[in-house]
Subunit: 181 residues, 2 copies
DNA sequence: CTGCCCATGTAAATGGTTACATGATTGA
DNA sequence: TCAATCATGTAACCATTTACATGGGCAG
C-alpha cells in the first residue's frame, strides 16, 4: 500500500488534517496517485492505531474542529523503509487500449470519436500540469534536490501525456487509410 | 469494469476456457490489462449468470475437463455498448513517483539504485514487447484494420516504456549535480 | 522423482469507489 | 437563497491480490 506512504510524506512535510491531505492529493499528486476523502480518513484511523501518526484535535470557532496528524518516529521509520524498497512496474489498466483491441467492430467515425474525446481529456490534464499552481508548489520543496525531484515528477507527467497525444494523432491518421466505402 | 469486456473480446475472437483466457491476458494484454486466474474464473461465473456467455463442458481423457465459454447475443451487445463509451483517463498509480516525491531523505546512491532497478524492469518489459511472440499474435487479427489497431497498441506500450527509460536516465544524470560531500 | 503443464476452484484480505449523512459559515 | 468551503465520518459495494486446495500426465 502506498497511500499510507504518500500520506506519511505529506505529514512529514507539514502536519495537517485529513481534509488538508485530500486537497494535497487533488492538487499535486492527483496525477500519479489519488484518494477519496473516505479512504484518507479511514487510512488515517488505521495509521493512528498502528502508531505511525499522532492526532491532535484543534477546536475552531467559525469552522468544524479539525484533527491534525503528525508523523511519529515509527512513522518515519515506516516511510524510510518503504522509500528504500524497489517497486515493480505499475500495473497498466488502460481502458482505451482494451477498446482499441476490439474496436474493429466500430466504424472509423466511432473509433475516432473515442480517440478525440480521450485526446481532449489528455489536453485538459496537460493544462493542469502546465498551470501556475504546479510551479508554485515547487517552492515548498525543502532543498534544491527535493525541488529537482519534484520537477522531474512533473516532467514525467507532461512527457507521458504529450506522448499519448502524439500516439492518438498517429492512430487517427492511420485509420484514414481504412476509408469506409 | 473492463475485465468483463476484455474477456468478451477474447471470447468473440475465439471461444475458450478460463485457463486459456489467463494465457491470453498474460501473453498479449498483460501489458495494459491484467487478471489473476481467480479473478477470471469468478468473473466468468458472474457473466454466465448474467447470460453474457454460455458454458460448454468438454470432457478430456488425459487432462482435466475444461469449460469452454462463448459470447451470447446479450454479451455482444454488452461489448458493443461498452466499446462506444468514451473512457476517462486511467488513474495513474505510480509508486516510483511517490517515492521520488519523498526521496530527498535518501542518499544519491539509494535513489539511483531505486531508479536503476526500475529501469531494469522497464527494459525487461520492452524486451517482451519486442519479442517474436508479439509479432506472431498480429497474425490472428481478423482484418487489416484490426491488425493496424493491434500494432498501434503494441507501439503505445513500446513508446511508453522507451519514454520512461529516457526519463530515468535524465533523473540519474540530474542527480549527479547534487554530489554528496 | 521432481517439477511443470493442464485445469479448476474457494476464501480471506486489502484497496478503492460511491452513496449516504451532517451542519455551520461565507460569498455571489 | 444558492452554492461552495470547511470538516468529518459510515456503509455498502466492487475490484484485485494472495493464499489455500486438488490431482493426473508428461518430460528430463
Amino acid at each position: 500500500m502506498s497511500l499510507k506512504h504518500a500520506i506519511l510524506g505529506f505529514l512529514k512535510l507539514m502536519p495537517m488534517s485529513g481534509y488538508d491531505l485530500k486537497h494535497m492529493f487533488d492538487s499535486s499528486v492527483q496525477y500519479y496517485w489519488s484518494a477519496t476523502h473516505s479512504q484518507i480518513y479511514q487510512t488515517l484511523e488505521k495509521m493512528l492505531k498502528d502508531n505511525l501518526v499522532t492526532q491532535e484535535i484543534v477546536h475552531q470557532v467559525e469552522h468544524p474542529n479539525k484533527k491534525i496528524y503528525r508523523v511519529t518516529e515509527a512513522g518515519e521509520k515506516e516511510l524510510h523503509d518503504w522509500l528504500s524498497t524497489p517497486q515493480d512496474l505499475p500495473v497498466m489498466r488502460h481502458k482505451l487500449l482494451v477498446q482499441m483491441a476490439w474496436a474493429d467492430e466500430l466504424t472509423n467515425d466511432e473509433i475516432i470519436s473515442l480517440l478525440e474525446t480521450y485526446a481532449a481529456r489528455v489536453r485538459e490534464r496537460l493544462d493542469l500540469y502546465h498551470s501556475e499552481e504546479q510551479k508554485t508548489q515547487l517552492e515548498y520543496a525543502r532543498s534544491d534536490r527535493e525541488r529537482f525531484l519534484w520537477r522531474m515528477i512533473l516532467e514525467n507527467g507532461i512527457a507521458t501525456y504529450e506522448r499519448e497525444l502524439e500516439w492518438l494523432q498517429r492512430v487517427i491518421e492511420g485509420l484514414a487509410e481504412f476509408a469506409e466505402e
